[in-house]
């Protein structure tokens, strides 16, 4: 009786959770309703976790004597994991969000992999299908865990350079084939085939070792510029792993939540890859991010420097300004100063818009969050497709900390590695100012034709220092007029 009531309550709580997750994500279709959306999803999570303590009334006979210990372990794990992550999540700076998301992917993947491991070690799965799904979910979870740790290390600057060696793809392929082979052995053992050289438990350890190794090997050679795609892929992987383990545990809430996230991750991965004009296979299996040497003679003209205050005054008397921020802005911690400058322009009746490229920042949409953090209202922020036609009728385009995403070579130069990538048409504005540290190249090491075009002038210096000068220049004007 108690078992049935528990099953009923858990079933209902999980059903509610699955609905609330989807409803919450649906609320994210507008910035106005999105804050409510995550709270709704949060209610679902709390309900599902609370109800899952009723599993205690349904446990297997073998686990009954361990019940008190298991409850203690569960409470401790929830408290330590939950409180620790909550504390870090409340503190982490917005610039570190990509690392954080990578870590959460890794945590989820690791949890899914662990569930698979317990099921396998306890020999709880029956039949080839169940075993295969458990193994697949476990593998994807483990790959997502170790790969996410490497992605975190790269984004956090612990690993500075992509690590590549000759024949790497063969080693990766070998690790993958080994995983599949070991999976085959485990399934055979599960079906009662004897004479498998090693005990099943050893094979299971070996299997997870292969999967973890594969995740590391797969992520190591990927360049820093490709990290937005990689994070999205691991997001999808973890979702998929959770969904598959949900099937193994016969828990539809896990299946639905996992698959929804898997689809979401896949969609974001495709969007990112499209914004970089590359296929997913290209990101994973080729070595992009290595500096490309362009012939110096290919671009005519010179970079012409201009004083920050002159540029500022020109913008003050312009009718319309579009600002193209890139990761360099965040790296210089200059978002606040930028918005301060924008407020001065708005006060002078200048129309100001922000143009965001899909791959601005280190993960999808990061630049939008950084601007929102600085206080920029979201109705001033426009995405590539919505704003690209406006540049031609705009007086000034101000490019800060962005480079490749405004390189017109992507439209015209077939030899350029970024040819075909959608770019922001900043070069079509009447006047372009580029705020840049020095005459160096961008993140990807590609020469930017925009810097040499006749309507472009360069403001050299640290973004924050430049913006302080710009603010002073415009304020000075106001003081002189008064």
């Amino acid at each position: 009786m108690l078992t049935q009531i528990s099953q009923l309550v858990i079933g209902l709580a999980d059903l509610c959770a699955a609905f609330l997750f989807m409803y919450g994500l649906k609320q994210m279709s507008s910035p106005a309703t999105a804050p409510r959306g995550i709270k709704i999803a949060g209610v679902g999570m709390v309900a599902a976790v609370a109800a899952s303590f009723l599993y205690l009334f349904t446990v297997e006979a073998a686990a009954r004597p361990h019940m008190l210990v298991n409850i203690g372990l569960a409470v401790a794990a929830l408290a330590i994991g939950g409180a620790g992550a909550w504390f870090v999540g409340r503190k982490v700076p917005m610039t570190a969000m990509p690392q954080m998301v990578a870590i959460y992917n890794g945590l989820g993947g690791g949890a899914a992999g662990s569930i698979a491991a317990v099921e396998l070690f306890g020999a709880r799965t029956h039949g080839a299908t169940q075993l295969a799904v458990t193994l697949l979910g476990g593998c994807i979870g483990a790959v997502s865990m170790s790969g996410s740790v490497i992605a975190w290390a790269k984004l956090d600057g612990v690993i500075k350079k992509p690590m590549r060696f000759k024949g790497q793809q063969f080693v990766n392929a070998a690790a993958m084939i080994a995983s599949i082979a070991v999976a085959g052995v485990i399934i055979a053992s599960g079906l009662g085939v004897g004479g498998l050289l090693l005990p099943t438990a050893t094979w299971i350890w070996l299997y997870f070792a292969c999967a973890l190794l594969f995740g590391i090997l797969m992520t190591l050679p990927i360049g820093g510029a490709d990290m937005p795609v990689v994070i999205s892929i691991y997001n999808a992987f973890t979702g998929l792993a959770v969904g598959l383990e949900g099937f193994v545990l016969q828990n539809p809430a896990l299946m639905i939540a996992g698959m929804v996230v898997g689809a979401a991750g896949l969609l974001l991965t495709l969007l990112m890859a499209k914004a970089m004009n590359r296929s997913i296979a290209n990101v994973l299996f080729t070595n992009f991010g290595t500096p490309v040497k362009t012939k110096p003679g290919a671009i005519k003209g010179t970079e012409r420097p201009v004083d920050a205050s002159d540029a500022a005054i020109k913008m003050r008397y312009a009718t319309s300004v579009i600002i193209v921020p890139g990761y360099g802005l965040a790296a210089a911690h200059a978002q606040q100063k930028l918005y301060e400058f924008v407020k001065l322009l708005l006060a002078a009746k200048v129309s100001v818009k922000f143009a965001i490229h899909p791959v601005a920042g280190r993960m999808p949409g990061q630049m939008d969050v950084l601007l929102a953090e600085a206080g920029v209202p979201y109705d001033m922020i426009f995405q590539l497709d919505d704003i690209n036609d406006d540049f031609a009728t705009t007086d000034v385009a101000l490019v800060i900390g962005a480079n490749d995403v405004v390189n017109p070579a992507a439209r015209t130069d077939k030899s350029s590695p970024i040819f075909g990538m959608p770019i922001l048409n900043a070069d079509k504005a009447h006047q372009v100012y580029v705020v840049k540290r020095g005459q160096g190249k961008g993140y990807s090491g590609i020469v930017n034709a925009l810097f040499y075009s006749p309507n472009c002038e360069m403001v050299y210096g640290d973004a924050q220092a430049v913006l302080i000068k710009m603010i002073e220049a415009v304020r000075g004007l106001g003081a002189a007029a008064a």
């Binding site: 804050p35 372990l73 949409g365």
Partner: protein, 119 residues
Amino acid sequence: MTFAIDMTGFVALYVFMLAAFAGWVIIGNVPAILHTPLMSGSNFVHGIVVVGGLFTLFNASTPLEQGIGFFAVLLGAGNAAGGYAVTDRMLGMFKTSDAKPEHAHGHHHGRVHHLKKKS
């Protein structure tokens, strides 16, 4: 009467198919401006794996199973709590011009509306 869930073969595939489709449609409607909170939010959603972790931990009967089960709940709880914390924080940052009257210029209730008016 039993409330145990028994989902096999095609039923499971149908659930997966419908969930993936729903996810694709729901996420496809999220504007690019919210892609970071969307990703951390979907991160939070796969934190539901903690429920699976609890199930395995409660059914653990050997020290190995208990150890791995503990690990699963620890990671899952971190995933869920952290994902929620960062998503909630980020979404709280998005404000409209209307909310700040000192530099409101017109009434923009939506980006598309605003764009059409200007172009």
